[in-house]
Symmetry: D2
Subunit: 349 residues, 4 copies
């Protein structure tokens, strides 16, 4: 018991906070010290996060009462995290930040995509970008990790092996993600009203999606990469499916593509290559990944052109947020990487 | 053109107002004079009600600018309608009210079910209760009609022929309705947030549902009727399905029950008896009624007891609100009852 | 009555047949003579198509009993239509074919995309390709019309004005359609099983989609067009949303793009340009079009590149099949083009 | 390793088989010896059950190759289980049967509800009815357990404490369950076709539901119980919600009802009393239980009558099938009852 890692969650009333609570409660090496929420201070966390029912008597604390601990998971809204970071750093030697505030290394890129200057640029270099498949070694000794965006993670894990091997034309990458409503967070608004949002196919971000900046940062590999990114919200709660269209700069058959992916991911516990020639589940599908930390990746070569279609799926609250943050936590602490992330999904669902 | 009936919609920003606008625009005998909304005053109605796109350039007016017209459809929120009724009556000789305020004849019943005294009890007797199948004759000469509740309409149309014939035990009627999210209106709230409301089976009113009062008023027929009513919200936008469990006080076979229903509804343009011994659509299903003014009614006799299960379905915004109001309007004006209500539904959907 | 156009539907048990029946029954200039189905011969059509309940007593006939009439709507499965076409031509002077068999002018293109030689190439030149916005004049005197594919229609109507004006790079058009389950027809299979298909995001055709051939045929305008097409099935029954990514070959601002679309579609009764800077319905969304014959088109210019994202939506059974066929029928007969196609959609839904 | 309990699953291609595989693979005290399927013999189980991907290389075996093992989970279709039971009993000393064949003690009740004579009545007395909350002690020494029906379990756990205390009128219990599509199994058919089944509210069993027989058997407690049971299928894959209407035969306030439930379930690991006076999750909702083994139970007293509405929810494939079977397995073997059943559900979903 005394050896457990004491963690606190700052900003625990939202979906990523709730997901982290759920995962951390079941984690054998962790003890949860506090979970903060200003609005819900003093209330039971299980009232807001039903999976905690009969499993935890934890109550929300105000941020002002945050105590010292070993690790803070910061789940504050975007732009608030950078304001609170200095004081959080005084409370814990290790911080995993789930906001978008510390993902980009370049404050100018931040300003360009977020339409406002960064307020704490001096911290940007301290954070490791939070995709283990790309930055595992840095994570082992990291103190600060910035968890990656959900759509960015899905896209990056789909394209990373191809871009690294420089087998695609870097100027004409088109990515279209289909996302569920939980991506927009726990706050209700007119656009999330059930009669409005149900059955909708909402082109909520045809251009200008902020996650593009992360993708460019992480998988350019020195090339002048252009990622033409669009996002469509569908009638789904959890899940993201990224369909990426890239154009091969050389002739590669299916076997060669397989080889590139296998090489990149053969030891990865949470990336699966999913590509079946028959059956009902030939390509990645996020519904099969609800609650899991997997990113499934598949592909198909266009027989009529040099296009390669890459399909990557995951649960935006897991591999796209809380799950990936916990994976990074495990790496940071030298623990088994899959600890607390063993759930394999449900079917049918 | 000069012969058209000039109608205005008061409180036109919500779902029943939008549905009425849609229907009235296509009605050959109607011209829409005004549609009011305080919040959206001056804005195009098609921004709020997309089916009006490229079909109407109507803008919302404030209530203070309401002009005289032939008929007002009042779609104000419950309890506001009774406050505005005196001034509305000065603007138009005929009013169809879609709130709950004038449905009950007995102000004490109102107080009991709505937990507040009625504020304009002197008007209660002026209104005809708005189900044409029960009150068609009164409607022909009526000036004021109070449109019935959606769940009440579904239940009443399912049970009315049986109660009228007094063939069921009046003390043990159990009704359970399954309803969609549009019943709760156009205002978003935490409970209507898509990630929360999707897939939910919410027992939002296990007891105490206000529509019970209307049902008791309309189908007691002198008996001491008890309706044990519960409502469950499901993942659906439009539609209500009422499953009513009644106990026969005499032996009646299927043929006899058929006869009772046929007798009651054989001339009704909007009630269909749906009961097939085979096929995919054996009983009423609200999805087949989206956009239509039908109430479909079916039944099954329990082979092991004297229970009769009655199944009635409709679109809560149509036969449960705007459609039924327009049906009453047609009757009121001596028009063909189905005018503007011809849509027969979509399949598959 | 004697002036009505006598039509028959060949192959009327499926979804396009049912949709045509529904529309034609309400069409003021039409009388339905027969509807054929081998499997359901002798049975009431309303058993299979619930919107016909209490509206039609029509029964299915076998194809062998098909009588002469004015117009045949052929809804046979792909590849069967070309086999029956000679005998159908003996029964009626005008035929609107809803299969894929007569869409392509070039039998080699057919063989390439359908992986089989065309069996009646001598008829290909007789058919007008069935999108009125492109071929209205030819339709006025046509005897044979081949109704366009649903995904092709959505894509073509989104891109046609741009390609015609030759303002986009023809080699790098990427199109991704999101489609509902009704596109796959009325036959059940393991992949359409509700527990499997619900919530799924199925990349059913990442490459090689046959509708690509139609798109290339119709909007190349002499350029060497490449359309990189992918299709993803989502948890929706009706509807298709095409998101097309094109790259401008010249600098055009939003006003110029608007101008191009307005020029092309200003007189079109069924194409709306939907692009709002605020509100909940900023871009086309198929849920708003269920049951309508509209194709809504919107766009957004990428501020960081020369990409233009075009969003087009429709109901695949209406503008993508039966509705568009009826629109062609109206043109063919010199009738008001919108006759029988007035329904404006439902909201909320 | 050598101490692990060797289990086989007979009939493992369906949903309960897949769910068991998923659970047993993660169970620390179990080793899976075989999983049988005639149709899929020789194929990887993960092709049919995607949660096994990258987790198991198990292949299906034919039943003829079934070897001896410690425990057989029999997931054969109803009526086939009784045919194979003698040979299964030769293979393993302990059997947990998930079909309906051995749930009823009385062969006449079987014949009445299943419309066919029981083919192996001599075995009926050997099986313990599989709800641990009612039969835990018998299970500890049982060799044969018949897992309970999903709808029966939800109803029984909701009503058991009340019936046992004999506080309700036994003649007038009305139960209405709302169920998802996975209850009907993995075989596709016309009624499970996605365009047909989506959005449907199908009254598939208004009367005569077979699970009624189990309910009567288990909670009559010597009274002449009548359970008026109806089942409606909704657009959901997993989950069952039972709404039970009972009439108190004495005056009991909320506190007294609480006391009755608390007394019955206070030590139960998988039954939670869910009843909140505020918040979004006031009553049991199956979506919160997807993948868990919980049965949540809540209630509301009707202020206008002696009716008590009991609401009980669970995942039909877990507490309603595989999960409850595994719970029984744990009890049978003296293991911690929650072993392998720790998953607490997802939210939002």
């Amino acid at each position: 018991m005394s050896e457990k890692i004491a963690v606190s969650i700052v900003g625990g009333s939202g979906y990523t906070g709730g997901e982290l609570l759920r995962l951390l409660l079941a984690h054998p090496s962790v003890t949860i010290r506090q979970v903060t929420s200003e609005r819900l201070s003093g209330k039971y966390a299980h009232r807001t996060h039903p999976p905690l029912r009969k499993r935890s008597e934890l109550k929300f604390s105000p941020l002002t009462e945050l105590q010292e601990c070993d690790v803070i998971f910061a789940c504050l809204p975007h732009s608030q995290s950078m304001q609170h970071m200095p004081s959080l750093m005084e409370k814990a030697p290790r911080i995993i930040d789930l906001s978008a505030d510390f993902r980009l290394k370049d404050p100018e890129a931040y300003a360009r995509w977020y339409h406002a200057p960064h307020q704490a640029p001096q911290y940007l270099s301290k954070f490791v970008y939070g995709i283990p498949e790309l930055h595992r070694e840095e994570m082992r000794s990291a103190h600060y990790i910035s968890s990656a965006g959900c759509n960015a993670t899905a896209t990056i894990l789909g394209l990373y092996p191809l871009l690294k091997q420089q087998v695609v034309e870097p100027q004409s990458v088109v990515v279209e993600v289909k996302v569920g409503s939980s991506e927009a967070g726990a706050e209700s608004n007119d656009g999330s009203h059930h009669p409005v949002r149900s059955h909708s196919l909402r082109s909520f971000q045809p251009t200008g999606h902020r996650h593009t900046a992360e993708i460019l940062q992480e998988i350019s590999f020195g090339q002048d990469l252009k990622v033409h990114f669009s996002a469509t919200a569908i009638d789904m709660v959890r899940g993201v499916l990224a369909t990426s269209h890239v154009f091969l700069n050389q002739t590669l058959d299916e076997r060669a593509i397989w080889q590139i992916y296998r090489e990149a991911y053969k030891s990865e516990p949470f990336v699966r290559i999913v590509k079946e020639s028959q059956g009902l589940y030939r390509y990645p599908d996020p519904k099969l990944l609800w609650g899991t930390n997997y990113c499934d990746v598949g592909f198909e070569i266009d027989p009529f052109s040099n296009r390669l279609v890459v399909i990557s799926a995951m649960d935006n609250l897991m591999k796209g947020a809380a799950g990936q943050a916990l994976q990074a936590f495990n790496i940071m602490h030298g623990l088994e990487e899959t600890l607390g992330l063993e759930f394999g999904g449900l079917h049918p669902i």
